[in-house]
Symmetry: C2
Subunit: 487 residues, 2 copies
């Protein structure tokens, strides 16, 4: 619609600006040339709009996280460095272009996160070395077996090794940690096996190849670590913190929406949609945890930091988010309990939700600051008190409802009961998140806040704020201030 | 524990079988040598147990899906083929080892699914050609600019192109469809740019390189398609069908467990755990849909088969599964409504669950057989009738409960109300799944069953059963028989 309107406008505008001579040759009553030209102009306008839209999208990708643009520059730098190192020597020089292997190593090993770089670098180095050694051995055996047997031994071993190595990729551990290594293993073995070189030539070649690949890996790692490094472990940490914040905001937001004066079916407040990120973050959590284990100690992430536990925290959060999803659909449902029934449980439900949310916020700030979750136990106790209050209010309900049996049936109150029991279930699952966070705190040796600071432990926990990007700034804010919506 | 026991036994056994001369030199009272030997034996036994366990695991991976083992053999075959093709010409011959590129192509392009192979093959071919052309142009310009400017132009263009291409990988569309192509683009451009060859040499090289890569890709695709091909589209199709079956079984199983004579908190029947697969299958659905779009028409999957709609069906199923998760935790909860209260809604809830399950089963068999979901509307109507029955029973409840106010409070009945309203929500979300399936049927032009077969349309839908592997055989079974548990 819009494009057609712009097209019409565009062709009109064009007729205004066309040189006099041209407009004379055009038949005014929809001549062929005019329509063709209008079509071309329309196309160009549409193209310009598409390009502009695409450019805005691309710009937004970079602006949302400038580290992405920096990553591009880092790859360019690493490649230029390696090409400068090898510029004096042409790539295809005699022994099959060793410089080529350095360039290739940089292109395929350089990853966004340090963990990714380490994973690929390690896999490439070890796989090349082991496959090279094995291939040398096989070549030597084939060499000694005579001309007739040689191709059979070489092809047979290639077939068997490639089949076995490929199959090994279906083993989950191999897939998670050595997938790239298996590829390089097969590649190196087949290149050496079919190279047709003699063993002494191969030894020479292997040595040069290894040193070239080593140079490539070293350049990669140096550029990756020195210039604005992106640590997979830190990304995972921040993702966990952010998701926990979102869960906290959602629980509170949903229940606020539900008991708000106006029913909020239509306009879901953005902060009550945050659980969706939690539902969908399993894949990125798993991959980041996988890469993080390759990273050396950095900042507050020590040697053998328990990254696997973050995925367990993530699983507990998803478990919580499933229930919040059900709660959210109750809140947005068309059939709602009447307002006066809602009001019966409004206060106590809102209190429970805000206690739940407080527990999640304290857990997230404990993870963010990497301090022991000291005040968390109090928050959990408060939450459980709120649960008991809600249960008490529910027990007290029947006589209340019996006062006005003519006006309402149990059926009318059912949506409210469902919300209440989902809230109770959510608080139980929130405890699951807290358990996972406490295990994480133990495994990662989170710093304990001092005992005599018990009363203001909340502020103490903020002593060492993590270097979070802008959109996560709220995690560093004082817990007592209202969190901005960041979903 | 077990290892220690075996160790003791092992060392005893060893002492029986040791040669006479040796046992003389060993001090009987825990001599150093004896303990060391016992330790070695224990290690070997533990190692053997570990190897045996690992072997069993690996065997199971292959036995569960023999196509995995076949995939390994296919890769071996393709590599052997390509090495035989090039065996007469040594890999590192003059122009930088063209045969090497064929081997490398096979190793990196051969993927498990045909779609994966096509994706990588296409990306590799197009990226190599376009980057090669661009690099030729840049080389030509650099060549004409004189010796001083040449390295600056080459390095500068390499830096800029590598940075821009790397950044482009953060664009979701590029990431999904051309990620591998971008890598190859950077690789090819840098290899040509830093090669130090003259333009006429490069032209020669480019032609040879392209033909070598083409041979590699053709061998890959031929082996991949001809020998027991694994189609990503079909995998996606089967995954969707299987997940829908699992959802159907879970809804029925959960409610059966809930109203079973014995409370089933502890032992969850395996069929009521199937929803977990649905919750976790987003990543595989997305990647399969991504790869499937590269596949040529095959079997009943025509040109432009709407694979993207499968992911929407998957999303609708997950939406349903979130609610089932909440239901499942109600079923397994410690606090349960008293048996006599449960009995009030037992029949109608079980009926609704089995209607829900029937709708999902019919939807899945409609997808499996790729026939129009004709009888689905009736099933949905029946399900909605069951919803109304449940709602009616709920409305009728208060007087029933009022009969025995001393024995129970509203609070006791609440878990039951929650189950009932979750069931109602699940049936609403099941309709969402049905809508997605109907859209899929329209987009994919599912065959319509004949009108005059309305009464036995159910059996008609089975006319063209899909070639499903063994573990999915149940989808072809007659719908009226009880489905075996296949979770």
């Amino acid at each position: 619609m819009d494009a057609a309107a712009r097209e019409a406008q565009g062709s009109l505008e064009w007729r205004v600006t066309v040189p006099e001579g041209a407009s004379v040759t055009v038949e005014h009553e929809a001549g062929v040339a005019e329509r063709a030209w209008a079509w071309v102009v329309a196309c160009m306008i549409a193209l310009r709009a598409a390009v502009a839209g695409f450019a805005r999208k691309v710009w937004k990708i970079g602006a949302d996280d400038p580290r992405r643009a920096v990553h591009g520059l880092k790859v360019g730098l690493a490649l230029t460095l390696v090409s400068v190192v090898y510029y004096t020597r042409p790539v295809y020089d005699g022994v099959g272009g060793n410089a080529m292997w350095a360039v290739m190593t940089v292109v395929v090993v350089f990853e966004y996160t340090v963990g990714g770089c380490m994973y690929k670098g390690f896999n490439r180095a070890v796989a090349t070395a082991s496959a090279g050694l094995l291939a040398l051995g096989v070549s030597w055996v084939a060499d000694k077996s005579g001309d007739k047997l040689e191709p059979i031994i070489l092809s047979g071993s290639l077939f068997l090794l490639a089949a076995a190595a490929t199959f090994s990729r279906f083993i989950p551990t191999v897939k998670a940690r050595f997938d790239y290594g298996v590829t390089i293993f097969i590649l190196t073995f087949s290149l050496v096996a079919v190279s047709g070189y003699r063993v002494d030539q191969l030894l020479d070649l292997a040595q040069q190849r290894m040193s070239t690949i080593a140079i490539g890996i070293i350049i990669c790692l140096a550029v990756c670590v020195v210039i604005w490094p992106v640590w997979a472990g830190q990304e995972l940490h921040l993702l966990t913190v952010r998701n926990m914040e979102k869960l906290a905001a959602t629980v509170e937001g949903c229940v606020e929406d539900y008991f708000a004066a106006k029913p909020a079916q239509a306009q879901a407040s953005p902060k009550s949609e945050g659980y969706k990120c939690v539902l969908n973050s399993k894949a990125s959590e798993d991959s980041q945890a996988n890469l993080a284990r390759w990273e050396p100690p950095h900042g507050r992430f020590g040697f053998r930091h328990p990254y696997a536990q973050y995925t367990k925290v993530g699983a507990a959060m998803r478990h919580c988010a499933y229930c919040i999803e059900a709660l959210n659909s109750c809140v947005r449902a068309e059939v709602q309990a009447p307002e006066h029934v809602k009001r019966l449980l409004g206060d106590v439900c809102t209190r429970l939700a805000s206690q739940c949310s407080r527990v999640l916020k304290e857990a997230s700030s404990s993870v963010a600051a990497m301090t022991g979750p000291k005040t968390l136990d109090f928050a959990v106790a408060d939450m459980n008190t709120a649960v008991h209050e809600l249960q008490g209010d529910l027990r007290a309900l029947p006589p209340v409802l019996a006062l006005e049996p003519a006006e309402m049936s149990l059926m009318d109150a059912m949506p409210l009961f469902t919300v209440a029991s989902l809230l109770i279930e959510i608080s139980a699952r929130t405890e699951g998140v807290v358990d996972a966070v406490e295990t994480l705190a133990t495994l990662a040796n989170f710093k304990q806040v001092e005992d005599d600071d018990d009363n203001n432990g909340q502020t103490e926990m903020k002593v060492h704020p993590l270097n979070v990007p802008d959109d996560d700034a709220s995690t560093q804010e004082n817990q007592t201030t209202k969190h901005p919506e960041q979903v």
